[in-house]
Structures are given as structure tokens and as C-alpha cells.
Symmetry: C2
Subunit: 156 residues, 2 copies
């Protein structure tokens, strides 16, 4: 079991582009509620099953297991509801941390968010100049929420 402590931001500009090669992600949810979610993810050529508990402030319990790629494909194709998440993840090192920039496609086209994983909620970190508004705790940006209410359907 791990504790996932994450902060999430929108992007201020395109300064992050070209700093890392993107990896294709596809993910869906066997279930998703406030209390718990079970995610099936394909990251590049690897499959994962991830169980997460409720988020308290920026922290949630997380259990992740690698599973056969074929199982992940079959579960996404046959068991997880549509629509699902398609994105590219760019892992960008910056002053001792790794920023994960997610560029969404499909029904979430146009959305780009950046996440940083911390060891504790109040841990200080440097912000690259391309990091914009913080959206940690805004549940609309949770990937499970983006399946149910994709970015393209938001009223802005």
C-alpha cells in the first residue's frame, strides 16, 4: 500500500512541450465513487490495476499492481464503461521533482494538467514557469470524473 500525495495544476503556457517524450495512456474504471475507485490502465505497453481510497486533502491510499497487458486490454474493451480516458503523459524532471503533464484526447481534448507527487502535503517544491492555476481538490479534474463528465461537455 502507498499513500498518494499529489498536487495538480493547469498549464500557463506551452513551455513544457518538447521537454519529454509522451507515453500513450488509456484508462477506464471498473468502479469509481467518492469512497473508492478501481482503475484499469495501459501505460505504453504495460497494464496496471489500481485501487484508490477516498481523497483527504491531497492524500489518498493507493494500491497498484502490474497485470498482463492482454488482461488490461480485455477489461478496458469488455468490462469498463465508456467513455474512457485517452491521454499522453510527459514526465518532466524539474529541480528534484518529476512533473507529469497529461495531455488529454478524445472527449477530453483540449485539457492539459500537470501533477507533482510529494512525500508530504506541505512539502515545498519549485514551480516551472509553465505551471498555472492550482486545481488540487477540484474533483472535476479527477480522471474518473473526466470519464463521466468529459472536458468537452463542461460549460465554460
Amino acid at each position: 500500500m502507498g499513500l498518494e500525495i499529489e498536487r495538480k495544476f493547469l498549464l500557463a503556457n506551452d513551455g513544457w512541450r518538447g521537454l519529454a517524450k509522451g507515453v500513450a495512456y488509456r484508462q477506464g474504471y471498473l468502479c469509481a465513487s467518492k469512497e473508492r475507485s478501481v482503475r484499469v490502465r495501459i501505460a505504453g505497453d504495460q497494464g496496471f490495476l489500481t485501487i484508490k481510497g477516498a481523497t483527504v486533502v491531497a492524500t489518498r491510499r493507493e494500491y497498484e499492481y502490474q497485470i498482463p497487458l492482454a488482461d488490461a486490454h480485455a477489461m478496458l474493451d469488455d468490462l469498463c464503461p465508456q467513455p474512457q480516458i485517452e491521454k499522453k503523459r510527459y514526465s518532466i524532471p524539474y529541480q528534484g521533482f518529476v512533473w507529469e503533464v497529461d495531455e488529454f484526447f478524445g472527449l477530453n481534448h483540449g485539457l492539459i494538467v500537470a501533477e507533482i507527487e510529494l512525500d508530504r502535503e506541505d512539502q515545498p517544491f519549485a514551480r516551472p514557469e509553465w505551471i498555472g492555476q492550482e486545481v488540487t481538490g477540484d474533483s472535476r479534474y479527477a480522471n474518473a470524473a473526466l470519464c463521466l463528465h468529459p472536458y468537452s461537455t463542461w460549460s465554460r
Copy 2:
């Protein structure tokens, strides 16, 4: 991925007792619907995570992964809703098949069912004299259903 083809029966008598040593099972569900379920199980000293699809006749897709025992305990304690399933499983070989007799405790005390796993739905098999009425397809006997509507609450 596997296909799970199972038939389920009530017990006609106590003739099965003493034929195998029971193994303690504890299990709960991260989610459970007609379309899919995610089960956390502790069987003896082993932990498992099992994803199942919808049952069509006696068959359903099943994906099972062994996970650390500590993870299974933590997920059952902290993430899976109560009540959960407590039972002892007795694996009893009989004429080329293995019958799994589940004796339930807690809120399902008094319920005993026997299951046989087949390679195809119409595969013939011999019934021990202690096998009673078939309940394959009776959704009340599904373990996920027994969490929500335990045997002790049934009107009989």
C-alpha cells in the same frame, strides 16, 4: 483472463463433513453490480484481487491476481464496505472433480453451498449423495449479494 463456468448447489445432508480440512476465507467487494465486481479475498494466508464480468447462464469472465496479504487486509479493513463474507471452504475431490463446499459464518451463518467448476456448461459430472438442490443462476446466493442481503435476513 479465464472463463469461470460454475454450478452451485445446496447441501442435502452432512455427508461432506470430515472429507476435507476447511480453509478460512474472508472477502469483501470494492464494487459489485450485475455488470462487474471487484473482490478482495483472503484465503488462508494468501491475498487475491478478482475482477468478474456479468454472468451469462453459468459462465463469466474472471481475472484473478495474487496480492500481498497485508494489502488484502488493509483493503478489507479500510476500503470494502461492511458486512463482508466470512466462510470456510472445504475442497472435496469426487470422481475427477473438486467440489468446493462453503460454510458461511457471521450474518450468513447457517448457509452452506457447494460449487463445481466445469470446462463447459453442459459437461457431465457425478453428484455426491450429499449434493442437494441446484441454485445456479439464483443471484441471492452470489457472495456479493450475500454481503448486501445476508442469509440471516432472508424471509424463509
